[in-house]
Amino acid sequence: MDKDVILKAEHMYKSFGVTKAVVDFSMELRRGEIHGLIGENGSGKSTFSSMVAGLYKPDSGKMTIDGKEYAPTSTEDAASKRVALVVQEIGTIGSITVAANIFLNKEKQFTNFGMINFAKMQSEARRILDIIGGEHIDPNARTESLNLEDRKLVEIAKAMYCEPEVLIIDETSNALTTRGRRILYQNMRAVRENGGAVLFITHDLNELVQMCDSVTIMRDGVFVTTLEKEDMDIDRMKELMVGRDIADNYYRPDFAPDYQDEVVLKAEDIVSPELHGVSLELHKGEILGIGGLSESGMHELGRILFGVDKADRGTVTVTKSGDHITDPGKAIKNAVGYMSKNRDTEALILNYSIRNNIALPSYDKLRRGGLIHAKEEKELSAKWTEELKVKMRSDEQLCSQLSGGNKQKVVLAKWMGNDSQILIMDCPTRGIDIGVKENIYKLMMQFKREGRSMIMISEELPELLGMSDRVLIMKDGMISHEDMRSPDLTEQKVISHMI
């Protein structure tokens, strides 16, 4: 046996109801390595890592750490064996302090005669935050007052506090800015240098190649292969993940802006706490890209354009009707749709069937004399799930059972079912695997040809430049730059306007 192996998982199985998430999966993690774990959405990465971290109990299979049997019963149990996980979703509690989150379930060490010594807890939190690179975070702050990135850093602090020998990072980096990523990488390297191992789950293959010493690929819950550093080739990994060839460039092939003169949506001098005078015009058949750092105000702009949030000043007008958008209902009446970046909580009702989700904005159209026509509702759902090729058993299935990419297709189906002419998409491909991503880009081009207009807010520069007719870059709540589609528009050129 290789004595460098720290964690060994053999023949792991896990099912959820009828869904087989992980099937006969085995892998090894060696000391002193950062090991990537990749696969499409729904390939079983998160399920596997959750079993390692003690969140799920495997149906069968065996894990060992340094040759000793390892069967964690909870995350606390895993932490005591120095295995820590930073989850994909938000893993901190908003209503308590940063320090309380870091030491959640570990308060005992700070108690004297049953009372928690908060001063001691705080200074300990201060120490650990300084170590991991979160010097700017106040351990006494309420966690919900932090931005998403700092909340992630708190989770990293919590994970690093148990001095992990096995650290699992589950798709955390796409919530982070460049600075946040640097801090994350620094901690991953620290674990490696101390002789531990990092299991790194990411969708960003460039990041993967840069950080990892080896990578394991999963598909449909099954082990595909493990590649060593020298064999890590992006195209090859994509193929292995999807199980077929992926076109090298899945963005649109043309390199010139192409849209009509007609303005369909207009925002004038929008002012809000995050925005300081933003105006824009969207044209018929245009894909308007909006890029920037996540705190640039671009996400807030998307919400205001659809009427989810109200601007303090300024108007959003649909040119055709002259209506001002003041709330989502008004937007929908004017054939405007919005895909929130928070797919699971805002764009979809997870505990609702696919059919119900698709019909939600279209009830007015499905009514015949006051009553909803059940047959038409069914047809609407059938038409769009077929058109968008939603992978499902039936449209009565709950959306919570679908993978990220399929959920996003349901969101698209919902707005297409309502015949939206203007679509505001906030991070439309966030956390979605390559196969579905390619699919969504193709659909965007189809919508464009049909004369629909889109606003694509994205933190991913390649897709922003790859898909947009026109790009607006935002910084500090204002539009700092505008560029037309052209072959010489490069990432370097726009990045300078973001920071």
Partner: protein, 329 residues
């Protein structure tokens, strides 16, 4: 909660796999669990009372007692679907009945209007608080219940009971009540399952944020749901006056809790959404009244009956929440 439900983030590639026959059987059992419980309870009580539960007199009594709870359940359905509840119903019915009875002494049409409108007005106030103040709906209901309860004594004007005219009580008949129930059932099935409003109520219970972003006017729908429970209180108050021939401070007492109890026994999910169905109101009221009548016939002490009801109530809440997640579509 939503963070946890999204947990098996992996795995869904197999979501197109066919459902096994075993799972299909489970689905049927789990979806109809409250009905199965009701049948078991009826069978059990039928046996221990040597069939006297099924005598025409007892069946008549059971249907008779179910009547108002079924109507009450129908009225609460829209609010329940949103994950809301109206705990002010009892006091609201009391006030509407007392005010109505006093005006009925002067004029019958005016008295009927006052009964219905008073209760509806309380519904409007409750609805506006619910939609705009965003305080926990339980507290809001309890508060309003206390507030109105405190007014009942002065409203009675020092009288213990306020009788209503014979013209009104003469209207009472089982046939009318059955007709009312059937008509109400038809209206509720259509309104709950096939109108935009009914769908919107469920969408709010299942995911309010997503409902807002789908263009649902949440404030309007929330207010409407409370107006419906208010209107229902008015109708229940009027029917109680017709049945009992008088109003007093105890008119409608505990109605809110009994309706809640019967909705839960009928399998309604407290958080709202698709787990709330029209049949919950009927199955639940039947379970509650059959239990009450059957246990009485069996000779069980009323205190012990309370304990049995309490145990069943908790068991039903636990099982509806647990079983709901095991249904695979």
């Amino acid at each position: 909660m939503s963070g946890k439900t999204s947990a098996p983030a992996a795995a869904r590639t197999k979501s197109q796999d066919a459902i096994s026959t075993a799972q299909k059987v489970k689905n049927i059992v789990f979806t109809n669990f409250p009905l199965i419980c009701l049948i078991v309870i009826i069978a059990f009580l039928g046996i221990v009372t040597s069939g006297s539960l099924f005598s025409s007199y007892n069946v008549q009594t059971i249907l008779n007692q179910m009547f108002l709870y079924v109507l009450g359940g129908f009225g609460c359905l829209f609010l329940f679907a949103q994950g809301g509840i109206d705990l002010s119903m009892a006091a609201n019915i009391g006030m509407a009945a007392i005010l109505g009875a006093r005006v009925l002494e002067v004029s019958i049409p005016l008295g009927i209007a006052v009964t219905i409108l008073t209760a509806t007005a309380v519904g409007v106030i409750m609805g506006l608080i619910y939609a705009y103040a965003k305080i926990p709906v339980f507290i809001q209901g309890l508060g309003m219940n206390f507030l109105i309860n405190g007014m009942l004594y002065p409203l009675c004007g020092g009288r213990a009971t306020i009788p209503v005219s014979r013209t009104l009580t003469a209207l009472q008949s089982s046939t009318t009540e059955i007709i009312i129930t059937v008509v109400a059932l038809a209206i509720v099935i259509l309104a709950y399952n096939y109108t935009k409003f009914g769908r919107e109520c469920r969408a709010i219970g299942a995911g309010e944020v997503a409902a807002v972003q789908s263009g649902i006017n949440v404030k309007r729908v929330k207010t409407m749901a409370f107006i419906i429970t208010g209107l229902t209180c008015g109708i229940v108050a009027l029917l109680t006056l017709i049945r009992t021939g008088s109003a007093s401070q105890t008119t409608g007492a505990n109605f809110n809790f009994n309706v809640m109890l019967s909705m839960i026994l009928g399998g309604a999910v407290m958080t709202g959404g698709t787990g709330v169905k029209v049949r919950n109101a009927i199955i639940g009221a039947a379970t509650l009244i059959v239990l009450q009548t059957g246990l009485g016939l069996w000779g069980m002490n009323t205190r012990i009956q309370e304990i049995v009801k309490g145990v069943l109530f908790i068991l039903m809440i636990v099982s509806t929440t647990k079983l709901e997640s095991k249904i695979v579509k």
